[in-house]
């Protein structure tokens, strides 16, 4: 404490005096020694020199003595920073390369991390979001099935684990009575929903328990966007009514902006009870799922066990085909980001590898520079710089470079994030909300500091021991440090090549998968097809006959349009995903165990659908006009379905029990087999699928497919016109070329492939720069040696082989390690790879050849230069 005070006092009274005092004191000591030496009888010159020698390094002594008075950490740092900046200014090219390399690495990593941060790490914008759970039912074959209304009531009342529980689903309704008919999206919720997502009304009120009762008056709560854009933000809307599907709903309130719980934009919220009525059947499934908040301290597992107890009880008191159903739950955060999580993590790893390669490159550059600076360092040491001080200064310089790189990287990242948001697929939740928050900044600072330390310590580790005498005597390039430096730089380059190969292999796998997905035979020809998606409001189309009548007339009209060659309709178009799946069994086959009942996709198609899309008929017949509602119920199955049950013989004549042996359901006789279509998306394996004829099971929601002679998009105005002619109040859900819908299913794959390819390209460039730099240096150092060899009669091809072997050796070593690492790492890619094995030898061979090729190409210039050494010049002037 005392010492600290006197230091402070000294700082205030002035350093200069102290320095002068020390100078005088040291001089006086020298004088004493000289006098003593003279007294011993030494000649004056020698006496002076001996005293000087004995006194030691005066500057260093001064520095050390003064340091005792200072707060070294505070005082030398600004000095180091000044030296560092001076060093950077002195070699701008070196600094530019280092800063740019680091900026690329740090920028790309920060950009990807900020997406990961927003999409995966940032908590969902709901109160106590970490306790929110998405729930459904599960049976031995499937998870996340819709919860039945009856089960929901039991769960809600009898559980001991949840604070609150609410049901939700979406519905499409048409709004009439306010000008042109509008197609609207509604969120159907129970009253607890608003509390769970933390939505307080902007105007009026939200639903309370009274709205949950069956038979309550129809009410709704408006979404902010809909209120502003469609109702002119009129506050008098409270108490007014909206006609939805022919039923009047009173407006109770308006929500504030910013509620994005559902994946699609919601126009308004309706009480779920309006769509349930009095249901007592415990197996009546809709698409309702539950949102629930766990009580604090209750784990999801124990909460699910709690609900399962209720399910066990219900199975005893109210047994049925679903007695084996259990509760299924997943944290909301996971269910929202489930699909994209592995992709984003893989991208983060990949970009981390790029950063590592950038670091290796910079470390290699710094190493080369520090060998070139051995002399400078030796001189500094000779005039009194301590070893620790030198190391600290080198570190400061590199941290400074890293900081500049990091800053530039942040700018790049900002630009990169905007690009990512622009090209990212819409399926990535919250991608558009990506911003830089403190976590991203902290991350950027951390990786910047890490890269600075890593690249700064590289020369310290290898050239740590400074041999003053030899460094000062010898020319810099033969200083002992360079051998160690060369070896560590070789290690760095080998590592770079290995990492680059890992990335290239991954990128090649994804590119191959994308090509496979794009060229995958969808099972039909999507070109020149216009898809018209309609949902008939059940209020105006109550009977199957009305629905059939509307579509019949529409198809008739559309067929009459000039340029339309064929028209067909389907319930669930290709690539739309899983619109409906259900249990089934095959009659005349052993009945499956209750938990083993198979599931198939069920779809609806009219007689012309297969022909219009060019889906080939493999066996039997297509649907026909004779398949009337009162005739024999028929079905067409796809090839996967047919081969599953009739691997050798024809499936025609087989009979399907809808719902399986334990549930009510009609029986269909198979009349035809059609080719598989990619129902779930282009990059998926086909599933069993059953088509039911539209004529026997008409559906309100159909997609009418029109094959055009020319550009399908040009038909759109005429199509709209025809639809309005038949029903002025019918909104069109979507109208666009089918090929567009198909391509949209690959958006996410294209996104991740593009990014990974970009990273691999970046890695290749960095690795090429790395190997070029190393070999260039290798050749420069050996120019004398080469000249001597040439002078002694070595032919140039020998020199070429010698230098070339250096390049090849490094590339091969790197490639070998990279192949092993890539092979091992590709297991993480399994989920993203399609149409090819994640362990594909040809793709590995291509990737390795590309990386070795790039490395050899990068080495070509230095190797060529080695062969161009002119012996005479070199030996005379070198």
């Amino acid at each position: 404490m005392r010492a600290w005070w006197s230091k402070l006092r000294c700082m205030l009274t002035g350093r200069r005096a102290l320095a002068e005092d020390l100078d005088a004191e040291i001089a006086s000591q020298l004088e004493f020694e000289i006098q003593e030496n003279l007294a011993r009888g030494m000649p004056p010159e020698e006496a002076r020199a001996a005293a000087r020698r004995h006194a030691g390094n005066l500057t260093l002594i001064q520095e050390r003595a003064r340091e005792a008075w200072s707060f070294p950490a505070f005082e030398t740092t600004p000095q180091d920073v000044r030296y560092g900046l001076r060093g950077i200014r002195r070699s701008p090219a070196f600094a530019a390369v280092v800063i740019l390399t680091l900026a690329l690495g740090i920028g790309a990593t920060t950009a990807i991390f900020s997406v990961v941060n927003t999409v995966l790490l940032r908590p969902l914008p709901y109160p106590s979001a970490e306790r929110l759970v998405y729930m459904g039912e599960s049976d031995p074959k499937a998870e996340g099935i819709g919860v039945t209304w009856v089960n929901y009531q039991h769960w809600r009342k009898e559980n001991h684990s949840f604070e609150e529980m609410a049901g939700f689903r979406t519905a499409h309704l048409s709004l009439t009575g306010r000008g042109e008919a509008l197609f609207t999206r509604a969120g159907l919720v129970t009253s607890g929903f608003f509390g769970l997502v933390g939505a307080k009304p902007l105007l009026g009120r939200v639903f309370g328990p009274s709205e949950d009762r069956p038979g309550a008056a129809p009410t709704l709560v408006l979404g902010y966007q809909f209120w502003v854009s469609k109702l002119g933000a009129d506050p008098r809307v409270l108490g007014a009514t909206l006609a939805l599907d022919g039923k009047s709903y009173e407006v109770l309130g308006v929500l504030p902006p910013g509620l994005h719980y559902f994946s699609q934009a919601i126009d308004f919220y309706l009480p779920m009870s309006q769509f349930q009525g009095e249901i007592v059947d415990r197996t009546r499934h809709g698409s309702m799922r539950l949102l629930a908040r766990l009580k604090p301290g209750v784990t999801l597992n124990s909460a699910l066990k709690d609900l399962d107890l209720i399910m066990h009880r219900l199975a005893e008191t109210d047994p049925g085909p679903e007695s084996n159903h259990r509760a299924y739950g997943q944290f909301l955060a996971e269910s929202v980001t489930g699909d994209i999580r592995p992709t984003l993590l893989i991208l983060l790893c990949a970009v981390g590898l790029v950063l590592t390669i950038a670091c290796a490159n910079v470390a290699s550059l710094v190493l080369a520079r520090s060998t070139a600076r051995v002399r400078e360092m030796a001189i500094r040491a000779a005039i009194g710089a301590g070893r620790r001080r030198l190391i600290r200064q080198m570190l400061t310089e590199n941290l400074l470079l890293a900081a500049l790189g990091g800053l530039t990287g942040l700018l790049l990242a900002q630009w990169g994030v905007r690009a990512l948001i622009g090209m990212g697929p819409r399926e990535i939740p919250r991608l558009a909300e990506t911003t830089f928050d403190w976590r991203v900044l902290l991350f950027a600072c951390a990786i910047t500091a890490a890269t600075g330390l890593f690249t700064g310590f590289a020369p310290v580790w290898t050239a740590g021991k400074l041999d003053l005498v030899s460094a000062l005597k010898d020319s810099s390039r033969s200083a002992t440090g360079s051998k160690g430096g060369q070896a560590s730089r070789s290690v760095l380059v080998v590592a770079e090549i290995a990492l680059t190969l890992v990335l290239s292999f991954a990128a090649a796998l994804l590119i191959r998968s994308l090509i496979a997905a794009q060229t995958a035979n969808p099972g039909f020809s999507p070109e020149r097809v216009l898809a018209l998606e309609l949902v008939l409001p059940s209020a105006s189309y109550r009977s199957p006959a009305a629905i059939a009548g509307f579509y019949g007339r529409l198809k008739q009209d559309l067929r009459g349009l000039p340029g339309v060659t064929a028209v067909g309709a389907v319930g669930c178009p290709p690539s739309a995903g899983d619109c409906r799946d259900w249990f089934y069994s095959i009659l005349d086959r052993p009945a499956p165990q209750p938990g083993e009942v198979p599931i198939s996709l069920f779809n609806t198609a009219d007689a012309e659908y297969f022909g219009a899309l060019g889906i080939p008929l493999r066996e039997g017949r297509a649907f026909a006009a004779s398949d009337r509602p009162n005739a024999l119920l028929v079905a067409i199955v796809n090839e996967t379905f047919a081969r599953k049950w009739w691997p050798k013989e024809s499936a025609v004549g087989g009979r399907i029990k809808f719902g399986g042996p334990y549930r009510e359901g009609p029986i269909y006789e198979i009349v035809g087999v059609v080719g598989n279509v990619s129902q779930l998306g282009l990059d998926t394996e086909p599933m069993p699928e059953v088509y039911l004829p539209f004529s026997q099971s008409p559906a309100e929601a159909m997609v009418v497919m029109m094959r055009a002679a020319g550009d399908p998009a040009s038909l759109a105005p005429a199509v709209r016109h025809r639809v309005a002619e038949i029903d002025r109040n019918l909104p069109i859900e979507s109208l666009r070329p089918l090929a567009q819908n198909m391509a949209a299913t690959l958006a996410q794959r294209r996104f991740s492939t593009l990014l990974l390819a970009l990273f691999a390209g970046l890695a290749m460039t960095l690795a090429a720069v790395g190997i070029y730099g190393l070999l260039n240096y290798w050749v420069r150092v050996r120019e004398d040696e080469i000249a001597i060899r040439l002078a002694l009669g070595a032919p140039r091809p020998v020199i070429f082989r010698w230098a070339g072997w250096q390049a090849l050796r490094l590339s091969l070593a790197g490639a070998a390690i990279g192949m092993l690492a890539g092979w091992w790492a590709s297991r993480w890619l399994e989920s993203l790879v399609f149409g090819v094995s994640a362990h594909s030898i040809p793709i590995m061979a291509v990737a390795a050849a590309a990386v070795i090729g790039i490395a050899v190409l990068a080495a070509a210039i230095p190797v060529w230069r080695a062969t161009q050494v002119v012996a005479v010049d070199r030996l005379h002037h070198g």
Binding site: E25, Q29, A65, R66, A68
Partner: protein, 116 residues
């Protein structure tokens, strides 16, 4: 570090001992830095080599703790030199350090001494 194997090589100071030795050298009266060096080398039978790079910082530290003070004076042979003098605190510290050191040396001796 000097190796113990070579008896010709002189000893370096253990961490922190130099300051105690400086205090001891000033116990006899004020002295300048060169005088301190000579005293320590002579008294140690030329076993210790006093490196100026260690001596000056040590002196500065003692000054900071106010265990010694410094003053420019003229030496008996007519040269100006900076003389260091023990303060009362320094004297106390020396006594304490001496007894601590002796206990340490005795303990070391007991451990290192050949048995019997």
């Amino acid at each position: 570090m000097p190796t113990v194997d070579n008896p010709l090589e002189r000893l370096e100071f253990l961490q922190g001992t130099l300051e105690v030795l400086i205090l001891r050298s000033l116990q006899l009266g004020p002295n300048h830095a060169y005088g301190v060096t000579q005293f320590l080398e002579r008294q140690s039978g030329e076993e210790f080599v006093v490196d100026n790079g260690s001596l000056y910082p040590a002196l500065q530290r003692l000054l900071q703790r106010a265990w010694i003070t410094a003053q420019w004076k003229t030496s008996p042979n007519g040269r100006r030199a900076k003389y260091y003098r023990l303060t009362p605190t320094g004297r106390k510290q020396l006594v304490a350090a001496t007894s601590r050191w002796q206990r340490f040396v005795e303990a070391m001796g007991r451990i290192l001494a050949p048995e019997g």
